[in-house]
Symmetry: D2
Subunit: 277 residues, 4 copies
């Protein structure tokens, strides 16, 4: 018996759960697990179910569309290992952690390629027999460089792009192209410490916690819908390099946690927020 | 418009969500939020919904019983401030925290009485104008003492009994009498450190974390279904008294978090585990 | 045998530990515990020791001054319960927690008075038989109001002033008057969410953690040297009022932890940072 | 200028700090950082300093021995990258994390070899060009197998042996041979869940936290001096395999944190506890 993920969101209305479960029941399918949430402030309805049964020959989405509001987003996905492309620059902690997790079958995804604007990470990536694409940005303006990146990306089928410490600002067009499909990780307490070397700023501020935020990328730089956050404690004994090292630990854990959620289709994006079941 | 909490659990079967939502929809009610979970190992179905609408004159539970499996537990509760009785012995940290939270309207419950086998806490309780009952255990055996406690308890209507560091072992009969209605807090890592002065044992073991567990009381001493747990870090600089002090902080937070869940009817007990929505 | 806390900070130089321990040894005293830290970036030396022995008749500080650099701050304090004054406005969670801790002998301080610009908290404070001073700010400008507050404060000896959700901005003169002696608690992620109702802003931003920071008060509003920070996790299910409630829990714990450190003379302030032993 | 770590422990006595710093000062060296702790219960003194200066031609340890109690352990180590051997069985999460950290210069150690009783991990280790030794245990009794392991280990100079999910019980002789030099990681809440598949036991118990403990190996199985512990939260939605996966995350982080402390010579072992500066 196959499992499917059904995700629906739309304006809230009475009887939505009834209508959905009516269609599912009459299609002879079973709901293994379902979560529902109404954002009452914005009157929005979110629903996710794991559905089991023989779905292939029914037209579940079509039947749901008949009864649901016309604005409803209805997504039905067979539970499967997603494909991801990782983009990185020089730092290896997040990238390496994901490669290792995939290698150990601890990542619910296949890393189909790694793209970087430098070649520092080539050696590491090639250890894991994954295609590495060095798309150098030198001598190119942002759009020219992104065009080249896009050419590489288009050779692959991929569900999500993971920015694992990719240190280039992306153009509005690039971001729009992968709307809701691009996950980024950054040190936290932004916008507290904007600009160069935030760890040094945090050190100078004498912070006692260092955090990381994983979020979907939107055109608000480092401000997209937050998927996961965490912090660790630091003390006056930490130099800013120690803070950076501690930060790397929390960054890799937070990114990995966020991907676990995204890859299981547990995350809805709603305006600038996420609903996570 | 009133909000109600609907909780259902039963053996799993196909179409349960459909049947439930069908009844709710046809009763002209709305599901504000619903969570569902199937414990596939034990083939058990758990469902909780916040339902809004005019419920008084329909017979929602009756209608649900008609369509649901005969073993189904169906609970419909109007969202309301629950009544609790706190039992304690000598330590004030958990008791005081709850009294203060109630005083500040941060506890979703009314503390109707405090019962203790000592009178140490009388002064504190009386500050908050709450009845305090000293039921001395001296010269009485366990059953005689519990009989007196029960006499006091029976003068009050109460939804839950909170053991806020009540240091007497309860008889099997007493526990059965309040089955699923009694919440306890204890230092964690039990059964690691069984017996007298567990903090001293933890100190001697050189542990680096101190935890607390809030759980429903069953006849397995300190082994009932876990509602909430947390830990804090300690170092070699902590004496066992420092550990005890740190433990008090985590105990009061964990008990308070567990009560928040229980008082909002978010917790199901299933065998020796909890399902928490 | 009495215990004393010796705190020294000065420009770093060779042999400081030797010089200090030489004086202590020749004074026939014993170092029970000592911590030392050199901020190598700023070439500053920090030293704290718990010293035991008969100190009264020696002139320990005098002897230390003879051998230490002339810029050295040398503080010798008998271990004793400090006196604190709490300032608050309307919210009771931090104030109540401290009153309760003092009542249960879990606070290493005596609360000698509570001052508020409203009278909301009078009832709570009077339960604990502690003087409550309502210094109304209505019809007064900032300096006039602070003058009245100062008049109240001057009637008490006190080691520290604790701003337990005191919601008035303090003038530069007031802050200077209690330089290094005033501890504040605020919701964290400031300056992320500056301005009115930061919890609502955090809610709208969809944050997944809610934090609190305890710090010494300086003229940089909410930007003084950080003593302690912590966060808790929140989800999309939290309304901003839920976030505020969760925030109250973390605020009271962080303030309490920070005070534990301050009251044991474990905190040095250095520029805008703390060194905590 | 070189940095050295000086570690001293002995029975407590008056003037120890003075004597130590006197020797250091007169050797024309400087204390960059020092920590001291007296375990008053057992009257033991612990001291650690980072000392800078020209140490080679002095006989610092010899001079210290002259003034310190005869039972004093005095260790002086030049700050250097330690050498470690990792022993593992089948699971790759801890091993891979350490290999990756070394590769990225985030581990303050060189992994000189990996030893396993299976060959599952050979492929992973060889990616990082590190010698892998498969010492099969089949057909051998414990001592015969350990003899073969020892033969491999003796070909390397190494400071510490890291048991990164090495699933064989070690003989008392093997443990004694590497006394204080062998670090292990295991799921926490032991001895709560002794025996086979502790994650399944934890699942059946319905725990809400999953932890890990890193400790020195002694003959008390999984009971040596604790270096580091941490936990993460789990819910009723976690199957025992999910718990195991979550456990892997916390195991690798806790082991890595413990090694950071050990590799910087920050950890003292005292009876069955650690003192960590």
């Amino acid at each position: 018996m196959n499992n499917y993920i059904l995700k629906i969101d739309c304006a809230d209305a009475k009887g939505l759960i009834y209508k959905i479960s009516d269609v599912i029941f009459k299609s002879d399918l079973n709901i293994v697990k379902n979560d529902e949430f109404v954002d009452s402030e914005n009157s929005k309805f979110f629903f996710r179910a794991i559905v089991s049964g023989d779905i292939e020959n029914g037209n579940l989405v079509g039947k749901l569309k008949e009864v649901m509001p016309t604005d409803a987003n209805i997504e039905l996905t067979k539970k499967r290992r997603k494909k991801i492309i990782i983009m990185a620059t020089k730092e290896s902690h997040c990238l390496g952690d994901l490669l290792l997790k995939e290698y150990s079958d601890d990542l619910n995804a296949e890393v189909v390629a790694v793209v970087s604007n430098y070649d520092y990470l080539k050696e590491l990536v090639s250890k894991f027999d994954i295609p590495f694409h060095h798309v150098c940005h030198e001598g190119l303006n942002r759009l020219e460089h992104e065009k080249k990146v896009l050419e590489v990306l288009q050779d692959y089928e991929c569900d999500y792009i993971v920015l694992a410490k990719y240190m280039r600002i992306l153009s509005s067009d690039f971001v729009k192209h992968f709307n809701g499909k691009m996950v980024n990780i950054h040190h936290s307490f932004l916008p507290a410490f904007v600009g160069a070397n935030p760890y040094k700023q945090a050190f100078e501020r004498g912070v006692k916690t260092i955090g990381a935020t994983a979020h979907f990328v939107t055109n608000d730089l480092d401000e997209g819908p937050i998927i996961s956050q965490d912090v660790i404690n630091v003390t006056h004994e930490f130099s800013w390099r120690d803070m950076q090292k501690a930060g790397r630990n929390v960054e890799k854990v937070v990114l990995s946690n966020a991907l676990d959620l995204v890859l299981e289709d547990r995350v809805f994006v709603s305006a600038n927020k996420t609903v996570i079941f």
